[in-house]
Symmetry: C2
Subunit: 348 residues, 2 copies
Amino acid sequence: MKKNEDRKKRGSERVSLADVALAAGVSKMTASRVLNNTTGFSDKTRVRVLEEVKRLGYVQNRLAAAFSSHGKSTFVGVSIPDLGNEVFTQVLEGIERKLNSAGYQAVLCVSQYDHKAIEEWIETVLSWQPAGLIITGRNHTPTTRKLLKSGGVPVVEIWDLNSAPLDMNVGINHYDSGYAMGQHMVGLGNSRLGYIGTHHDSAHSAAARFRGWKAAVEDGGGSILHSHVLQDTPGFYAGYYGTEQFLKSCGDVDALYYQNDNMAAGGLMFVTSKQLRVPEDIGIAGWGDLPVGAILPKRLTTIHVPNLRLGQKAAEQLMRSISGEPFADVVDVGFHLVPGRTLGDGPR
Amino acid sequence: MKKNEDRKKRGSERVSLADVALAAGVSKMTASRVLNNTTGFSDKTRVRVLEEVKRLGYVQNRLAAAFSSHGKSTFVGVSIPDLGNEVFTQVLEGIERKLNSAGYQAVLCVSQYDHKAIEEWIETVLSWQPAGLIITGRNHTPTTRKLLKSGGVPVVEIWDLNSAPLDMNVGINHYDSGYAMGQHMVGLGNSRLGYIGTHHDSAHSAAARFRGWKAAVEDGGGSILHSHVLQDTPGFYAGYYGTEQFLKSCGDVDALYYQNDNMAAGGLMFVTSKQLRVPEDIGIAGWGDLPVGAILPKRLTTIHVPNLRLGQKAAEQLMRSISGEPFADVVDVGFHLVPGRTLGDGPR
DNA sequence: AACAAAAAAGTTACCGATAAAGTAAATCTG
DNA sequence: CAGATTTACTTTATCGGTAACTTTTTTGTT
């Protein structure tokens, strides 16, 4: 056996495949085959090579490997708007689990709803030849759109259902979920209603829910006394003080609809602290079926969304697309209304 | 000008630097220089090259670039235990912001406290030649330890303060934070105490807090009637039903100390629903100063930890190390006790 | 104008793996 | 057992950039 690769690395350098091959007395190529578990080597050779891999502590340089096989990496770019929002961390968790178990790595972008930031991040991530992208939302800058279309990389747009996705889509129909809650509220006899949410311009899906809810309320003959949109993050505290502000300017509502459960919990706490009874004096409805619901004095009326499953499904679709298996362009993971006990059944 | 690189890509292929160079009438090297904004090109050439970059829609192949300059990537592996736990999403947010603004990308691992999973992930991530790693916790498998030591990659261990880190460390002293709360509770005259938390074996830092708290209570002459450890995630619901279980078996406590604020909020809601007054009938103390505090009927007695800053600091230390700037091996971001109004000042 | 120095390019080699193609050794087959 | 086939390897070329070095052109100086 001839050894044609006998240059040795300078002491401190990382062990390369050539070092392993040299030590095992085979060619780089044979060592490569053993490591990739293809064919073309004997049992004896395999053992020899793996022995040396272990002894030398060889770790593959996947930068080189991926590059060499003019291939893609195992990175999947994942963009979500906000880590402070439980729904997105749940979605992310679903994505991460599925990706990891399939041998992919999530490269994270937390956009804070900044489309320009997403654009820049996408350009960077694409330069790493990712296996795919999962992006929250459907509104992209023209440049983003162009990059994604010409990138030659599978893309899943998640969160909003989107009948004409760039590539693939996994989400729910936010408009419909708002409509369902509007119908439910009006159906129970609540007619003077209010909405409390946060900056709509950037939170596209919350705006869609609001529109759906509004349409249902109007279709059902109810009226929206006021919709209060805060410049804040949609959490407990915004719900609390948003409700305070709302009721100061507009005290005679039957029920309030919130952007999500955490805000609704804040609202519930506020009205409780003011000795208002829920639902007798005021009704409360949220969105998302978030963990806080477990500790509220009454089961919160809300919309359940399978966030974890949504994330898993998105990752699954992506992996199907990568591996050439059949997949659906659009997946609706659905929602359902959780009736709860925070909405009364009639006007006061 | 001579053109020495005139092979053209097959139609569908991605545009390479050679294509750009050819189109601009310069060598690959000159084009590379322009794109990396180094020196050695004229203004006229720069404009020409950038024109072609834009026209052809060239996107750099960083796999090749990083590989070629026997260099590292701009990836930073980030491992956290759980996305369902707000403290870690806050830390992650701090990390992500800092990394992104410095041109690095976070490659995420959500370990679910599984050391073996972390080990495998680290091996994979190292194979991508990351610029650095940020890992939650200080307990590693022997293999992990070996990989990190021989990896030649800067590593920041976060969360637990660690006077002898593998490389760098950013965190707080969990034991001390528990001790501080124990002192505070006993100092206010609470002597019959209870603890409610979740599976300690995997949540090392919570266990450290418990030990510190226990020591303070004993040092102060108080006694721990019972510590209730649940097999569940440390959230609202676990706090709620954990308190129910606790009080069933042990009803005469002065105050309860919880693993975190979300559990404390659950406990608070439970005791409130049982018509117990806080703090007159029972005291409640949490940890973490989490958002839920904003909507509780009384300011919760807790420990504030600057999670976002912890994350940012970790990323900052890492980047300093990468760029050769001076950095501290160990950074203690500190905590402080928030007195609140959920602890009474004497036995009943 | 002659020469030195600086700026603007071009050329070559190479990073570490794998694809593709070639060669030697082992196995099968009639 | 010769020839065909399979298996076990080796060799060479190459992916797309960049480092290091070399050459050409421009600019500056007396």
